[in-house]
Point group: C2
Chain length 258, copies 2
């Protein structure tokens, strides 16, 4: 039988630029009623407090410029009463709205960029927590993303360390002994989703612990969340439908059927 437990960590103060996030999280955990971390635990940290600790805030007035600076390429655009939302591939390879530049849970007049290198941030937090508590744990840094075809947003892992982010089950067999078809479980994203459920959105609880997934915990140098990114070249949806149509239309015009 499988069992899983998840809880939020109380007592994380408002994070500001320069804070030692790992030390702050460790302090809060040391005081947690669930007790310290155990081998196999996975700690989920919202990217927001990682960004705040890294001082990734910019003036809200510079929001559009900040989005442009974080953007590698525009994937699609959507016009709405408020203006135009850009769905872009950002410098981390993530495809998301506004390049992940965030205006909620930020001090008035400021917006927040994503962490510089969420995998490195996760590794630093993971190493510090492993040493502090003498345990073998994993860390995911989470963000909230929309998705095609389905309404609503889910949390995914944009940074990870010390765990297997993709669980390749293709070699394994199913209950009737047959080999499973292509099944690679995006477990780091499912862990982020679980953390989102227990944390909630506006509760001011940016850290959660998930216990019961020790089989996914590995060495500190396991590939990070970057390994979850599908390259645009391999992506059937690398470009929005309207943008791809327009590109084709232009090319078609210049090579007319006589």
């Amino acid at each position: 039988m499988g069992t899983l437990g998840a809880w939020t960590v109380d007592g994380i103060p408002e994070i500001t630029a320069g804070d030692d996030l790992a030390a702050i999280i460790a302090e809060a955990m040391a005081a947690a009623e669930q007790g310290p971390l155990a081998d196999g635990d996975i700690v989920a940290v919202t990217s927001k407090i990682v960004s705040k600790a890294e001082g990734r805030q910019v003036e809200a007035a510079d929001r559009e410029d900040a989005i442009t600076a974080e953007t590698v390429r525009v994937v699609a655009t959507k016009e709405h009463p408020g203006g135009v939302t850009r769905i872009v591939e950002n410098r981390l390879g993530l495809v998301l709205a506004a390049a992940g530049v965030d205006s909620s849970n930020t001090p008035e007049g400021l917006v927040l960029l994503l962490p510089v290198d969420p995998d490195a941030s996760a590794r630093a937090i993971c190493a510090a927590l492993r040493e502090r508590f003498g345990v073998r744990i994993g860390v995911v840094v989470t963000d909230t993303l929309g998705r095609p075809w389905r309404l609503g947003q889910t949390d995914v892992a944009i940074g990870a360390a010390g765990l297997r982010v993709l669980d390749d089950l293709r070699g394994t067999t199913d209950a009737s002994g047959r080999r499973l078809e292509a099944t690679i479980a995006a477990v780091a994203d499912e862990i982020a989703a679980t953390a989102d459920l227990v944390k909630g959105k506006s509760s001011g609880l940016p850290v959660a612990v998930i216990r019961g997934l020790g089989h996914l915990v590995g060495d500190l140098d396991e590939p990070g969340a970057r390994a979850i990114i599908r390259s645009a070249a391999d992506d059937l949806f690398r470009l929005g439908s309207d943008e791809a149509y327009a590109e084709g239309f232009r090319d078609g015009q210049s090579s007319p059927t006589e």
Copy 2:
């Protein structure tokens, strides 16, 4: 502080056509060491056993025809050594590979179609479990889907009853009292992801219970998972990039610049 617990339900036998799935799940739960269901619990059931109970098996030889029959429109196609995979919108509005027709965990020589109406299946199971145990619970029927831009698959809710599938937080304020930007948490999908983590893929454990999300549990007639579907008209990625480009190219050819 938020807390969440999830566990799999042992003792679910191999399901065959005509089985009373709700009764079988209830029996297994009555014998579960965690005890019976409590108010606010959410039960996650893999679509596979719902399909088996509904006798949704067809001859593997007819797989391609079955995919065609389940397809409303082809969204994209991908060629690979094994042949061509069709990413389609199926009759449930889901965009997924092979219309959800599944060849793993099925008896030799057979493939499995998705349930006829997963929301109705979830409602029936939810109603039966509520009556059997005298509790207010929710049910999600889950399936494993790939996604653009990110590798690996995650479980999502393709059927739901008795819970809020989308948690609209747009009215709420963040920790600093500012209104949250457009945030609608796809909680039913995050619940499915949590269930997938605790169930695993090939463990033969098709049912899980998630405890700690009672605030999401509601009346039996809450909108089902169909409410999570984004209509193609509103979708920036309604068509694969190559398919949209080809469409544009054809139209461009027939309207050349003078």
